[in-house]
Subunit: 788 residues, 2 copies
């Protein structure tokens, strides 16, 4: 039975067939590894761009991480064969490649490690994977135990395929001095300047163990032979590994240990696997992690993870929700914010939204992100499509396509930072421009970003979309230079209103006034040009065609255009009611609220690339959780707390077999999408992308803290306004805020008609507590009327 | 026992384990397919760039074809499962993915088709693959026969994996109206201009059969299940395919036919597999190739192949050599020359050398290649690195790196064309320039190419190498602008001498005189600066360091620098003898003559990228057959016919088990390399790259015709000067030349002291026959002294 264990900090899966691609992920400052329950792995590290040290067995395309990653027998993975040397019977842990049905199987991904326990025919294999805090390496611990009554002779064979390293040069051999399989390669290139660029790369992949193997093999093909990976020739007929090397052949790290285990006896191995620049780096890593203090390594990693676990805790009647929000959600936020999704040129939109969540974890990071973004802004005010994190980085892929929404996120991130920290010094921080040596205050930078945004409009005053807004592949609405984004009109208005508040606080009435007028005028334009009768249109194409409207048979209603109409205040109560009804009828699915519906089944040349994606996947009508998070934000904004909670909750895979099987993932992260197109493709609806890179995490965290829990900062203090679901009788939160601790106890009370708030047993007037003192612990009691 | 059959036009391999990657290849004007004996496939077609319609199960890197292509269980292939429905026993033809040991196995690749016959437990599967002449499609014929005594109930299941088509959109379903599995996709892109560029692409892959299947499956994963490809879940326990589709899942064409076969009974299927733009194209192809006249399709393809089989036949004591030269060698030349190696921007060097061989097959192609090359020449005379074959083509990969040798090949190709055709009108053909509207004669173009080449020299007058010459990855000898190429000095001198002859024939004594002087001066410089004592250096680096010299511990002696010293006449007899000795001692291996030795084991920053390749692979000291062909040309040039023949012969895999196992290929083509580094890596020495794209084929063909057979054109007629090996007692050739037919009978006669030549029983004086008459058949008898 799949379940959260260890107070929610670890999950347990007991069936490798239930959701074969179900995975956990670990990372440190330099690398990430996603391991499936069955032993397949996707891992990458920064060198300085994302690279792999274990490869597929063919030349792989260089691209961003792809949704619904597909596994196959020869995919990279970490496998441990066990052969009974009397019977010849073979199984492998975790589950691949032999796929023998285990007597028992347990997969337990935790916050800072992953564990498996696999039992088969009286033998048990325990595996544990950890990462060091600050090196690129996997540390594996494996224990083989005889749980039967008779002595067993077994061969234990860790098999770490390294795959197709390079067409220029790849090979491998066992280095007995190091006690390691060393696989060497030269990263392929052709231009001479790349030689100098590549020279520092870690072109070695190695596997070392804390004891010398009895036999080794380094050629993948020699190991596999005719038997195939499920029954490798090298292990058939009682054979031992033949000591072969790989010479421009596909290498693998394969070690054989011959063990005689009395009843109850066990043997423990520690292995390290990863990339290195040269053999002296291999020796260094072996010294640190195989011969060094294992406990110290583990506690450093735990401390690193603990740093990211945030400043918030919830104790609600929904235990799965508690487990997720208290551990896994901040972990996901921290992953994004501390590693920048392992890229050197994050999309500006992602970079800033990832920083949104970091205000609750490490607000200095948010500050740095805001200032770095502003420093790459053009003097025109234009915010670039991507942010370069290193001097040698370049804008790649989607960052070469012009998008028009980035100013919005700069405002939202800056306001969130101010709300949480009240560090108003950031506004005065002097920041340069991309093409100029002069510096100006961040305040000026943000204001100029909005001024640029306000200028990029058509004759109606609606914002041009160019080749995309938040929606990357909506690239042909405005590529001829005329099409406009309805969503961006709303988001601009929202951002202008937000920034007007900051301007007012800074006593800059002139700018505030201009922004208020612009925001209001934009709302008028939205209502004049984009209201379709029961919902808002998503935009107007280059040829003047409204889309996302009732006249469309596909892409008829878009969620974002409704959510942000609520956020910016464009929708009055009547319109809001119609919109909600339309969303319920057309976008709601058992797996969350779809981004739009129906999914496109044919190219719309005036909408763009998203219409060519598979219907229900990604931006073509998936349950795209980022959009769902905006919707939840809008619902909290209009005080629809119950609906908002349902939207948030639907993003989480339930910790039970049925939902895990359908989603194909564990409840340890929010994926960027679940398949939508519920009416069009019911068989696949709900299936997870298994991509945990998503702006959703930050928004979700922020909504739980600031809306569900209801504790959010203002210039003067803290607002206390929880919006817990009406069926929760009671809920407790604990939150660190501006150096103080808030312990909040929210209760629903029958017969009560108005909300009552006590702080340290003193009732407060309204919902704002002013003058929060650092170091103090506030005990807050909120009593809410029980709903009918 | 592996052997040539059907008079050398087909090969027979009877063991799928002997050389698992051993393959044949078929092509037509638009596509190429390489099929291994075990059923794996690499195929591509032009649309307009090379594309695949069956993919690996992961996003594949876009690159040129790679040597030693690696196969793995989920690699693209064409497989036919057979299940005994009484016992459940399963096997698959050709051999993968089940890998059941067959009772008998026959793989027979022919000139225009490939066949397999696999027997297992009383059942026989006959397979045949053909291509149509001018469409992109595979036509498969499969027959299942009960060769036992009892009636058998079997399921016959063609399984054509389609693989990872696209991250944007991929899926598949069975279309009952078409009787076809239709797999759809959208080629991934991000920039809007690529949408318009991609719109015409064939994004469908389909599998259709001439009868409706009993059951189908389109999801690869549903088919495979937990069983794996060797024992797919969908075929376990008597199950039938479940009719599933693929929805953003990896698709495959899988058809199940349930057959009841009486003893001796058999059922025949015809299938078509390939890409299409839309379903109407699918319908069209089905109509043509499944419902149309199969005989007519076959004879069109055979006629196309026959067109390429050249104008030359040999009957020597070496029957394997005869089989190769009479069928497979011109076939390989024709493949290069008619398809341009399936690229839109061939390297100029390759393009011109491929055209060398085409003079014996279709000289109009050679003419066109020469004129097209000249038309892309710069007015400076510089010949570009690559030739664009279409207006929308671009220079890719290696064509973006500056090389300095291309003029040489323009001269050699033009002279070869003149020698064979005597079509001197080509010299007057008016050709434009890449940056100018004016036209000039080809004669001027070639002269100017040499004039440019003569100007790109250092202060010693040796030619600069920039970032490469013939040797692409020799990219750091001269990247600072100073290094020179010894080989190019020799090749320049050779080309200048060749062109001087043309100039003289055109009565342009002034140019001829200049070229003779330049060629002679270059030889002086070569001998002054590059002779190392026992051989010639390969060049001098940017820093003035000679390399390819006895002082080097790696890359000590390069073959090309010796071969071309002989060709250009730089080496006197003494030097030649020293060079040959050094080559024998240092470069000769049981698998041919290495390009240089010892292979580099570490980067030489003043030589370049080739030193980083795996030692003994490709340009790092392989038996690089193109270089070996130059060596053979040099040996014939200096009348070392026996040595030359040994060099040529070593390029051919022997049609016997031992050599096939070592080389890992069949004797059907010359690969670009066999692994060298015979002393450094004996285990892998001799292993074939299995890449049949190589300039070697043209040179080999030309040497056999013009040197071994010894029949070559001059301005006045034809030279008759065979150089057959001394241990051949007799040899006959038949050759079409300038519209006449030559039947040549060469005999070694004991006691004879001087060569004697009769033409139509009349002795001729010297070795030149003047005034060849079109339409006439010349019977030539050559009597050679038998050697001691």
């Amino acid at each position: 039975m799949p379940e959260f264990i260890d107070n929610g900090t670890r999950f347990r899966l007991t069936d490798p067939m239930l959701a074969p691609s179900a995975a956990g992920y670990l990372w440190n400052r330099r690398m990430m590894i996603q391991m499936t329950c069955r032993g397949f792995a996707v891992s990458q590290y920064m060198d300085p761009e994302p690279r792999k040290y274990a490869h597929v067995p063919t030349m792989a395309g260089q691209s961003f991480m792809q949704p619904e990653h597909r596994y196959f027998a020869h995919h990279p993975g970490r496998f441990f064969y066990v052969r009974d040397n009397q019977s010849g019977a073979l199984f492998s842990a975790p589950h691949e490649p032999v796929r023998a049905r285990p007597d028992s199987f347990v997969f337990e991904p935790g916050l800072s490690d992953m564990r498996w326990t696999v039992e088969k025919d009286g033998l048990r294999v325990d595996l544990c994977l950890e990462l060091p805090e600050d090196d690129v390496a996997e540390i594996w611990t494996a224990t083989v135990t005889n749980i039967g009554d008779d002595t067993r002779d077994v061969s234990f064979v860790p098999y770490f395929p390294v795959g197709y390293m390079s067409w220029m040069n790849m090979g491998g051999h066992f280095d007995a001095d190091l006690g390691a399989v060393i696989c060497t390669s030269v990263t392929p290139y052709q231009a001479v300047e790349d030689y100098f660029r590549n020279r520092h790369l870690k072109d070695i992949t190695f596997l070392a163990a804390d004891r010398l193997p009895d036999h080794v093999e380094v050629s993948q093909q020699a190991f596999e032979g005719e038997g195939g990976l499920a029954d490798p020739s090298a292990l058939q007929g009682g054979r031992n590994l033949a000591g072969g090397d790989a010479a421009y052949e596909i290498p693998a790290g394969i070690l054989q240990y011959d063990l005689s285990l009395p009843a109850g006896g066990s043997e423990r191995f520690r292995l390290i696997f990863g990339p290195a620049h040269d053999t002296s780096e291999v020796a260094l890593l072996i010294g640190k992690y195989l011969r060094g203090d294992a406990e110290a390594v583990q506690s450093a990693t735990r401390a690193y993870m603990a740093e990211g676990l945030g400043s918030f805790e919830i104790e609600s009647p929904d235990t799965a929700f508690n487990a997720f929000v208290n551990h896994w959600l901040p972990r996901q936020v921290f992953y994004h914010g501390d590693t920048n999704r392992l890229t050197t040129d994050p999309q500006t939109r992602n970079y800033l939204q990832d920083a949104l969540g970091m205000v609750f974890i490490r607000p200095d990071t948010t500050r740095e992100v805001i200032l770095r973004t502003a420093s790459q802004q053009s003097v025109s005010g234009k915010v670039p499509d991507g942010i370069l994190l290193r001097p040698d980085a370049t804008l790649k892929y989607i960052n070469q396509i012009p998008h028009t929404d980035h100013a919005v996120w700069l405002v939202i991130a800056t306001c969130a930072y101010l709300d949480e920290t009240n560090d108003r010094s950031i506004l005065a921080a002097q920041v340069g421009w991309s093409e100029s040596d002069r510096t100006d205050s961040l305040y000026d930078h943000v204001t100029r970003a909005l001024s640029f945004l306000a200028g990029e409009v058509d004759e109606r005053g609606l914002p041009l979309i160019a080749q995309g807004d938040w929606n990357d592949p909506m690239n042909m609405v405005g590529y001829k230079g005329k099409g406009v984004s309805g969503w961006l009109a709303e988001a601009s208005s929202y951002a202008m209103s937000l920034w007007a508040e900051v301007c007012e606080a800074e006593a800059d009435q002139k700018t505030a006034g201009w922004l208020r007028r612009e925001a209001g005028a934009m709302i008028e334009r939205i209502n004049a040009h984009l209201w379709d009768g029961d919902w808002y249109a998503r935009g107007i194409t280059d040829d003047g065609q409204h889309f996302g409207v009732s006249a469309d048979d596909e892409g008829r209603i878009y969620l974002n255009a409704q959510s942000w109409a609520m956020l910016c205040g464009a929708a009055d109560e009547d319109r809001q009611a119609r919109m909600l009804l339309a969303i319920d009828e057309q976008l709601d699915t058992p797996y969350g609220v779809a981004m739009f519906a129906p999914a496109y089944t044919r190219m719309r040349e005036d909408v763009g690339r998203l219409t060519q994606k598979w219907p229900g996947s990604a931006e073509n009508g998936a349950v795209y959780n980022h959009a769902a998070a905006f919707y939840a934000a809008a619902l909290y904004h209009v005080e629809e707390g119950d609906r908002a909670y349902r939207v948030l909750r639907a993003m989480l895979t339930e910790p039970e077999a049925g939902d895990i099987a359908i989603r194909g993932q564990l409840p340890l992260y929010i994926p960027n999408y679940y398949r939508g197109a519920w009416h069009q493709h019911p068989r696949t609806a709900g299936r997870s992308s298994n991509l945990f890179n998503t702006g959703t995490a930050s928004w979700f965290y922020r909504l739980v803290i600031e809306q569900l829990c209801g504790l959010r900062g203002t210039r003067d203090g803290v607002v206390i306004a929880p919006q817990i679901p009406s069926d929760w009788d009671r809920c407790r939160f604990r939150r660190t805020f501006r150096g103080a601790i808030f312990e909040i106890d929210v209760e629903r009370v029958r017969g009560l008609t108005d909300r009552e708030i006590d702080v340290d047993q003193e009732p407060i007037d309204g919902d704002v507590l002013r003058h929060v003192e650092r170091g103090r612990t506030y005990k807050v009691r909120v009593r809410l009327p029980a709903r009918a």
